[in-house]
Subunit: 611 residues, 2 copies
């Protein structure tokens, strides 16, 4: 593995970090000098005040900050200068102390739901990486604001479990050192049943031998990596082992691990992604979105203070549009993390454009940022030359860091900053690119899953339309479209999912009339002749959205062609745009035909719907 | 690889064939002595008359036959005696000279569409087999009547191409020697583009260098294996290379190869399985069943006399029910082979019971046996202890051999012979087992695809229901079910497929009324309220068939439990029957729900159809 780091949003940092930079403060000094030299500007002074931690302030020609804060200050100052904007004024500190990236990298070098090539640090069952590339990534993460990197897939398979054992720890410590200089700490996903692989007859969290196993493991990990961040666990989910096997609650399971790492200051991140993935489609008493709340709300207050329960933004699984998970509102006495997904599993797989900052802004509006105490994102990184598969998908990595630092940040400003740092286009072209990105999600939503009607995707790979792909499957994701109606009634008269929300929120969704259009079919089952607020029938609205969404994708293609994006990004973006347009047409025609066959309704505008 | 041969339908041949038996006649003498000893009966005399070839006659206490005929005579005599029946009277000779098994075994040891474990003769890229097991298989093939074995997948991948090259030929010759003693000759699948792998810049069949390459290969193969049977080719099909790349017809491609092997007496078997596997579902001008006829009918008379065009029984691909392929009736001046599939790709995957002899009998009734000059079956063999995955799936291997020997043989008699040789049950139990097998196909058809409505299967793996699984895919297999109607009009007013049949046959299918129920939706698009001959609506018939088919599967389960099949077959059969019943229930409920959602029609008998 050896590839030269190439252009990211930090083109002015065009030399490798020397080995001597082994702390964030030393890195800050190096980066400042390098950046100023490239940009041809004068450098401010640096002042480290250890008590400031991750905070910094830029004032009177001095960047003052903690050991890590000063590095954030340097990146903030350099990026502002490079963009021709003003550096942030006044004291700056991150809103969330934990700003985590969850990498679903497997030890064999593949990446689960990875759309940017193979793993940047795994190959052949062990850690192996290209130094300059990893250090360029460290820069990117730090300049965005990410400070924790979980290096392996939550589905821990094969050799990934060795990372925290004697075989893997020395290399893990070396990797930790690569990132430490950027203020980024490592985390690993662990397998709940790991004691069994060591001759212990159980993984029961209340068993003394199990507890001892994990304490010894924790001692070894923190001895090798004193600033290790903690462990991430996916338990009792999609056939992963967990406490349920032993008749224990998830609080008992998480707390056992949390206590093992508590003396070292580690956090135990426990994913709340638990549901019945062997559902019988005939079973209408089970409604998958209810699962996380049903498992966890009753455990509120039972988790130790170094446990963080990581909850996906919506109750399903990273669909284009979901309501905010009700679990967030139900656990005031538990530390929660919000989990979002940069990997575009259901949102275009880094082929179709899908910039996420506007989505996170909506999320922050629906969910007061103080509800959670940490944020995590499933990574979109890989070994592709541009790190993210689609060159523009980097806006999601950058944007996530900015969102994690300040959840109230303006998505358009963040997007523009990324575009300006990356490409330096003429003003009108920059406006056009920002416009393209800012609208990319609504375009994708419109041609794939408008009205909250999700899961009409191809099973397994999750790209492209398949209206009935999951309809008779085990995954609990049904729309039950019939000749008359479509959607699931999730109100009190239906599955009761809506009852999981606090009173005030319930009213927003309780009736089809009150419910916003983009979630109507998530919460309600409606007849095709249902009249939307604007007078259109539901079926006409389905047709209109798919036609308009596809036309908008085609227009994006035209807009993209007119932009003088530097190569190779331009060629890469155009090539992917061709695929996106093909995908959009497929969505338009398949979904419209599907509903036309069901409903028999003709398009009022007489557009082509295939038989 | 080493497994002891275990019980097949030849339990009285319970010792390995010695190496000295290197001709069928020597094998015949050995088998006769061994069989008579086990059965405790007196042996008839054997007389070899070389001119008789594969023929034999059993008369006046003497089995007289050609070098191979005498072996068939011995097996016929022993099987009759073991079954307590009379040996065949009068001169016996096979109806087809070529009775071929096509094994889709890959060099890596996997078997494409194999449901009986790994390959019996491939592992790690090369031939490798267990002698006693292979010799037991040789017995099985010879006793059934199969005389050609194509050892590798028609999709020639990786090292399989080496079989006929210097690396692989010595081992192939050794394998040929194993089977030669049973009168079974080998064949291999070859890759049309193979010259490219040898530094030749083209595979154009009209190129002199290409022709020389194949002549040299043929010379080498027949030098190593003088009785080699020939080559099998899948060209221009499902992304395989072929003559179309060079603007040549399939006659030009096939004849070039045929001429290379002609001096050695080999046959060139060319598969007629050519269609557009990248169809746009929106394209209604293309109808996949028309493809083979469109490609080949115009080439009638252009193939050399040692070319055999191998045509699948139906125009699609081994569905439960298809009409006979019209290509058979369109090529009177071409040698044709009929291809059937023992591997239960779409017919239960050797989990669900599906005995094929009744199906072949129907085929022989629709297609005069003299229309074709050879028969081939895709193998259902594998390394499983019982050779065929399901112990009862052996009836299809045995039955195919009997069908190939005599296409007018009585399927019930063949099934009973297999059952009696294999299990020796009390008479009433034998009747019950034969009954189970004889009806197994109609039961499977009823709960999966009654009325000729095929392809409602899970994509790729082809097991289990998925009504829309292929509906918007590239494979040309659509039913276009809407709220009002289902099926494809393939008459003159539709896709015109029916026009490919001779006048006399067309009338059988031309109108919904004339068309037999089991092909109605193959040939016609019908409204759900269409009245069948018995007065039921189409939709009621769909519901009835799926309910009744599932109930019949459940009843088969009960019947099976009552049979004293010897272990381990009983346990294996019962375990698979549980899966079959689960599968039948899934088919019943998914298909009924699918059509209920579309049509809105209630079941007249008030049975449960899920929402």
């Amino acid at each position: 593995m050896s590839t030269q780091p190439r252009r990211t949003w930090l083109p002015f940092l065009n030399a490798d970090i020397p080995a001597a930079c082994d702390t964030p403060a030393k890195t800050a000094a190096f980066e400042l000098e390098l950046g100023c030299k490239t940009l041809g500007i004068e450098a401010p002074a640096l002042q480290v005040m250890p008590d400031m931690g991750e905070s910094y302030e830029i004032k009177d020609g001095v960047i003052t900050g903690g050991e890590r804060g000063v590095l954030y200050g340097v990146y903030a100052w350099l990026c502002a200068k490079a963009a021709g904007e003003e550096p942030p004024a006044g004291p700056q500190k991150p809103f969330y102390a934990l700003r985590m990236l969850n990498c679903w990298d497997n030890a064999d070098g593949t990446v689960e739901r990875g759309y940017a090539g193979r793993s940047l640090w795994f190959e052949d069952g062990r850690l192996d990486w290209d130094g300059p590339r990893i250090r360029q990534l460290g820069r990117m993460l730090s300049s965005a604001g990410v400070n924790v990197l979980c290096v392996n897939n939550v589905n821990v398979r094969a050799d990934a479990a060795l990372l925290i054992e004697d075989e893997g720890l020395p290399e893990l410590a070396r990797l930790a050192a690569e990132f430490r200089r950027f203020g980024v700490r490592l985390m690993t996903s662990i397998e709940f049943s790991r004691p069994l692989a060591h001759g212990i007859s159980t993984a029961d969290p209340l068993d003394g031998e199990v507890q001892r196993f994990w304490r010894e493991r924790a001692d070894a990990v923190w001895a090798a990596i004193p600033d290790f961040a903690g462990f991430l666990v996916k338990a009792d989910s999609e056939h992963r082992p967990g406490p349920f096997t032993y008749g224990r609650t998830h609080a008992e399971g998480a707390n056992m691990l949390a206590r093992a790492i508590k003396p070292h200051g580690g956090v135990l991140v426990w994913r709340a992604f638990v549901y019945n993935c062997m559902q019988d489609w005939r079973d209408t008493s089970t409604d998958r979105p209810k699962a996380a709340y049903e498992t966890y709300a009753q455990l509120d207050g039972q988790f130790d203070d170094n446990v963080i329960l990581q909850v996906k933004n919506g109750p399903f699984d990273f669909q284009v549009r979901e309501p905010v998970s009700p679990t967030f509102y139900a656990m005031p006495n538990t530390r929660l993390a919000l989990e979002v997904q940069l990997a575009q599993e259901y949102t275009g797989q880094q082929i179709d454009l899908y910039a996420m900052p506007p989505m996170w802004k909506e999320l922050a509006q629906a969910l007061p940022p103080e509800t959670v105490s940490a944020v995590a994102a499933v990574s979109n990184l890989g070994r592709d030359d541009n790190y993210t598969g689609h060159p523009f998908a980097a806006v999601n990595l950058y944007g996530f860091g900015r969102f994690a630092w300040d959840p109230q940040s303006d998505p358009e400003a963040v997007t523009r900053r990324w575009a300006r740092l990356s490409y330096r286009l003429p003003a009108a072209q920059e406006d056009a690119l920002v416009d393209l990105l800012m609208h990319s999600r609504e375009v994708y939503e419109k041609y794939t899953a408008p009205l909250g009607l999700c899961w009409m995707v191809n099973p397994h790979n999750h790209y492209g339309p398949n209206p009935s792909g999951y309809e008779y499957d085990l995954w609990g994701t049904y729309h039950k479209a019939s000749r008359d109606a479509v959607g699931i009634d999730r109100t009190a008269s239906g599955t009761g999912y809506l009852e999981q929300y606090p009173e005030a929120l319930r009213a927003q969704y309780a009736t089809p009339e009150a419910c916003p259009d983009n979630l109507k079919l998530f919460f309600h089952r409606l007849r095709y002749d249902y009249r939307m607020a604007d007078g259109r029938t539901l079926i006409q609205r389905i047709y209109d959205d798919h036609f308009e969404g596809c036309a908008a994708a085609e227009a994006m293609g035209e807009a993209l062609k007119s932009l003088e994006i530097p190569e190779p990004d331009r060629a890469e973006a155009l090539e992917r745009m061709e695929k996106q347009i093909k995908n959009a047409r497929e969505w338009r025609d398949v979904v419209n035909t599907f509903f036309h066959r069901l409903s028999g309704a003709e398009d009022e505008k007489g557009r082509k719907i295939y038989d």
